[in-house]
Symmetry: C3
Subunit: 250 residues, 3 copies
């Protein structure tokens, strides 16, 4: 593993994303995360998982500069793998707690919404689904998972505005479940993970399935079409120009 | 156009309902609205739409006196066209902001819930789905759109009580998104419409589709049956007597 | 009827569960409730129903000691009848008001969520879906009905924690609709039932169908599988040991 580290203690596995300054998702990172969550699913010693980033970022989302060199086919394959990853986490048999240590942007916010619980650090960090700001769409699964957390109306506000929310603002609408100071982040998340780990695994997995399986099946039916539409808009003249500007300026 | 006026400025089309004192929906008004929204959908100069009424009413809803002379077949055709209209607005490719300038009752409330955003004037105006008060049912689509805004439990309260809500009460449960004074209504709505108009049209249309298309498809499956049941109850002895009383006394 | 009493006044039928100290659900009680609600559905003199328990309990839920002597087939049959009962109440043509006079635990909470309105007594009574605490799962319908009341995120918190909520806590998240003192419970519930009874029955039934029928159909598709999974976990070594401990110690 190049970009993912895993450390276990007391039945809790901590998964840390470590890729450059902003932990942007490229093909390899997604592949490593997918393999890691696959191993965690069948490891009988693991009863709960925490997922976090490094530095000032949980993750900035997609590694856009890299994709500007991709063909449509390559990019479609990347998006197929990315959306499969968040669906894998969404219906993962073990509880997954997101420890949002910093900025959680776009694709990273989708990963966060796929977890069972989100604790976000207070302060300068922002959380956002800002795709519309550079003329991009999102995916069927991202919309459905967001709606589960904040409801339909707030989901419209989040997606149409592309706003960058503070942890407190995100908490008020349900996009994150708890806000804590940087100093307390580790211990609070550890406490929550221990609580989940104390549940009988079969009962947890079964109840999670009842809560999420039907949603996951609904997503699966429309995800592929939404990726196709996403790609079409992504490579449109205007959006492409904005993405290149984004690469140069930030 | 006899009952609808449209004026465009800066990529924003304002659609105004002008039919008598209460802007009640009859066949012609529905037809004109449907044609207008159809034209707006394909007009490349339009990036956002505002929809409002005149005087003290956004609209009172159905033109009940007129329907007392209708056959069941005529009334069924009217309802089919009416429900198609709110579904057209619900999945319209352009953002639609409802400017609720006054009372927004029954069918008019359904039209309001189909829009992307609702700004309501404070004061004496009321918003209501009061069908139950004269022994009438509603439609599948009306229920689904209401649930998106206020959730299942509030939807039950709204529909079972038939209560007339102030703008503030409606805002608290999510039935309207913003409440402003009469003096500020125009400028606030204009500001919101400009915000929507600034979005990249393809991205907006795509995200709106992800948020609403599945709901619209679910509605389409049950709308026709709900119209049939609505008509059956409407022409039942008790409800018919109440509707005639309504015509005579108010 | 051994465990159910019914008294009617002014078009309102009061159904009271009377079975020992805790009103636990066994086969006979479920059968009697099912027959009672079936009769109420077609009794033209009844316009509203109230459902309550006796003493300190609305109901403790399943009669676990009795089930420890059941074969898997017997227990599966019991659960099939129990889940059918809450679905019958969920889509009952008449309004059903739950008067939660005391503790409302596990299966009893599922029955409460199937009603149209819940009034809970303040004080020591608790409401809970605590299945996870003894290593048990729940059912597809129970999850869907809970989500309608409290939303997806709160439903996760309720089910994963197995927490015992006070009436006030339950009210804050929407699990109950109103909290009143023991002294006022009867009169408040009577007032609410009279309000429902004043609605035109056909309109009420039709609107309730639009709000709930699609949910009921979705439940029906997955309920049987969820019962099978529930039974499998119930008879697993660990859960079985906990259930027996529960029987001996409390």
């Amino acid at each position: 593993m190049e970009y993912i580290s895993r450390t276990d203690h007391d039945g809790i596995a901590r998964v840390v994303i470590r890729r450059g300054k902003v932990n942007a998702f490229n093909d390899n990172l997604i592949d490593e995360m997918s393999r890691t969550f696959g191993e965690l699913a069948i490891d009988p010693s693991v009863r709960a998982i925490t997922l976090t980033g490094t530095g000032k970022f949980f993750s900035f989302g997609f590694d856009i500069p890299q994709f500007l060199g991709y063909s449509k086919e390559q990019f479609t394959r990347y998006l197929t793998n990315f959306t499969r990853l968040y669906r894998e986490i969404f219906i993962h048999p073990k509880p997954v707690v997101a420890m949002l240590n910093g900025h959680t942007i776009a694709g990273a916010c989708m990963i966060a919404t796929s977890c069972d619980y989100r604790v976000m650090v207070s302060g300068k960090a922002r959380i956002s689904l800002n795709e519309i700001n550079f003329g991009s769409s999102v995916f069927a699964g991202a919309v459905e998972m967001l709606k589960l957390l904040v409801g339909h109306r707030n989901a419209e506000a989040v997606l149409y505005s592309g706003a960058m929310y503070t942890a407190e603002e995100a908490h008020r609408m349900g996009l994150v479940d708890q806000v804590v100071s940087e100093a307390d982040l580790e211990s609070v998340v550890d406490h929550i993970a221990r609580d989940y780990a104390a549940r009988e695994p079969d009962a947890f997995r079964s109840i999670k399935g009842l809560l999420r399986r039907a949603v996951a099946e609904r997503i699966e039916k429309t995800e592929r079409d939404s990726i196709e539409e996403f790609v079409k808009i992504w490579y449109s003249e205007k959006t492409w120009a904005r993405l290149q500007g984004k690469t140069i300026h930030g």
